[in-house]
Amino acid sequence: MELGFPWWLRVEHFLNIIFISFLVRSGLEILGTYPKLYRSQHTVPGTSWAQFTVQEEAKHKYYTVGGEYSDYSPRISLPGRGMLGLGRYWHFITVTGFVTCWIIYFVLLLVTGQWRRYVPTSWDTFAQAGQDMLAYLAFTMPQPVDGMVFNALQQLSYGFVILVLTPLVILTGAFQSPAIANHFSRITRALGGRQVIRSIHFLCLVSYVAFFVIHVPLVFLHGYLHETSKMVLGHSNNPVLGGSIFTIGLILVIVLHVVATRWTLADGRAVERLHNLIVRPWSNLLYKLPARMHYDRSNITGKDMGLANTTQNFRGSGRPPETEEYLALMANCYEDDYVLEIGGYVERPMTLTIADLRELAAGHSQTTLHHCVQGFSSIGRWRGITVSDLLDLAGPLPGATDVVYTSFQNMGRDDDLYEGGTYYVSTPMVEARMPQTLIAFELNDEGEIPAKNGGPVRLRLETSTGFRSLKWLERIEVVNRYDIILEGRGGYFEDTDFYDRNQLI
């Protein structure tokens, strides 16, 4: 068959220039907020295999992950300046287009027989690719195989990028999602764990960049106008026209990046609306994937540090409340003084002490992987009672739709990185009712939860990124709408920054 350059292939080629460049830039924004890559899920300080920051953290003082942002330039990352939430929005918006495009492209390759352009049908292709490599090294131009549109080395390279690298980056990207990673927990572990997957995802980015670094000069060496004309017109009969159109297209891509960056920095809420329009229709489907992790006691973070008190090593990511009320609770070891209030849209409002919670929990615990939105992970064994059980006790009234959790923490008062008021999150009822959504009062079977990890009582929301697992829990309120609370976006970071309440990805 005549392979040629069908129109859909040319469209896909151009769209991928846009998608991949946006994915790389927004991916760097996400990387920059926790610019460290690890092999181990425990992300023990000092053990990263790569760092992309010039910042060295305080050596003798507790520091939070919120301070580990690296401020990348908007010329490099999208949108730059450590705007993780907006970087995530762009990443997910672009992912939607990129994956859709790849699936359509893959189907078209199969049904049209164009897969032959990428998949070698003979072992000779590999030998020929070796010959082609030698030809390039000899500073000569290898010729296409008979009936093919490019040489064997190009065939294997393009085949690798489209049929191996792209599925790999999609797979490892999907497993960055706490909902997917924690629902398919065994696959997460089989792939090497959260941080190995994150590292592979990053190496995929490096591979795309490396491909472009080699691909673009070779396009020039083969003849810029001649080659780009094929990607515009489908032939090289009019290379000046085709090459000119392609060049204009590339300029438009650059303009698109500039406009997107400036627009994002100027009006983040508009990007948020675009994200909600494009991403939520599929990200909401992930509510069908409850977390079901089954780590062992031996998997918990801390073991590889060799310290006696392992809870010291479950990463902290916030500053404990600095109020006399909370300090007094801590001084009295919480046991007699702490009271969890459950109220709102319920039949039986109640207050529970830690002793009550312990009795109700009846020894229930879960050992789970924590997914920080920035990127760190830790494994902890949490003892507690499921929110679902607590809701059954309180009896939500008909029409109750959401559960709001309020913390002792006041962000503006307790953490100089942030402004604003009381920290709170809300969950839709479906997330609150998930089997691993837990009100925890003990970490790693060693007694109370340390202050830095949210003691005395905290929420564990295992399908979402870490900041939604509210720490220093004071009150639970069942409501019939969350959009009338404060800014109406469903949580502190949702209100004050650019994060979707749906943090399943």
Binding site: G46, Q55, K59, D71, F139
Partner: protein, 175 residues
């Protein structure tokens, strides 16, 4: 140690009296600038892999030099002698690199520079290019001496710049 409750002091990390003791510190940012030069942001800590990579690049230079010396297309007069010299020194470099933990990277730079010098000599002489009558394989091997030399120099620069680190050294990340 004075403070047995300090995990940092317990493992020998003592920054007391410095700004970094209680504050994060940004490095490599010049006065008046907001950010450090781009490449300062890249620090890879794979010492053994990097050591093997540096040795492998020199091994490629040595092997390619030997292959060119064995071919009947000397790039210039007495080039065979120079190529065998590079090959011999490269062999010693590889052996020392694999069998010891010596920091031999500057020696490797000399090998790469010598190989580059021979290549430049070939440009003035009768280098085994296809257009000079050499086979594709001979030309590819000849050009490999150039590409591997450049690769080593880039790696050496990255090593000195702090982007990568080779065993027995380490980035000594603490965060």
């Amino acid at each position: 140690m004075e403070d047995k409750n300090s995990p940092a002091l317990r493992v020998g990390v003592d920054f007391r009296g410095t700004e970094n003791a209680t504050q994060p510190v940004l490095k490599h940012i010049k006065p008046g600038k907001k950010r450090a030069p781009l490449l300062r942001y890249i620090r890879i800590n794979l010492p053994k892999t990097t050591r093997l990579l540096l040795i492998a690049v020199i091994a490629v230079i040595g092997a390619a030099s030997a292959a060119v010396a064995l071919s009947n297309h000397p790039p210039f007069l007495f080039a065979t002698l120079a190529l065998w010299g590079i090959c011999g020194v490269a062999a010693v470099f590889v052996a020392v690199g694999l069998l010891t933990s010596a920091r031999i990277w500057t020696w490797g730079l000399f090998i790469a520079l010598a190989s580059l010098l021979v290549y430049m000599g070939g440009l003035l002489g009768n280098a085994p290019y296809v257009w000079n009558g050499a086979s594709v394989v001979s030309a590819a091997i000849w050009n490999l001496t150039l590409l591997a030399s450049i690769a080593y120099m880039v790696l050496f620069w990255a090593l000195r710049y702090g982007m990568i680190v080779a065993a027995p050294d380490n980035q000594n990340f603490m965060d």
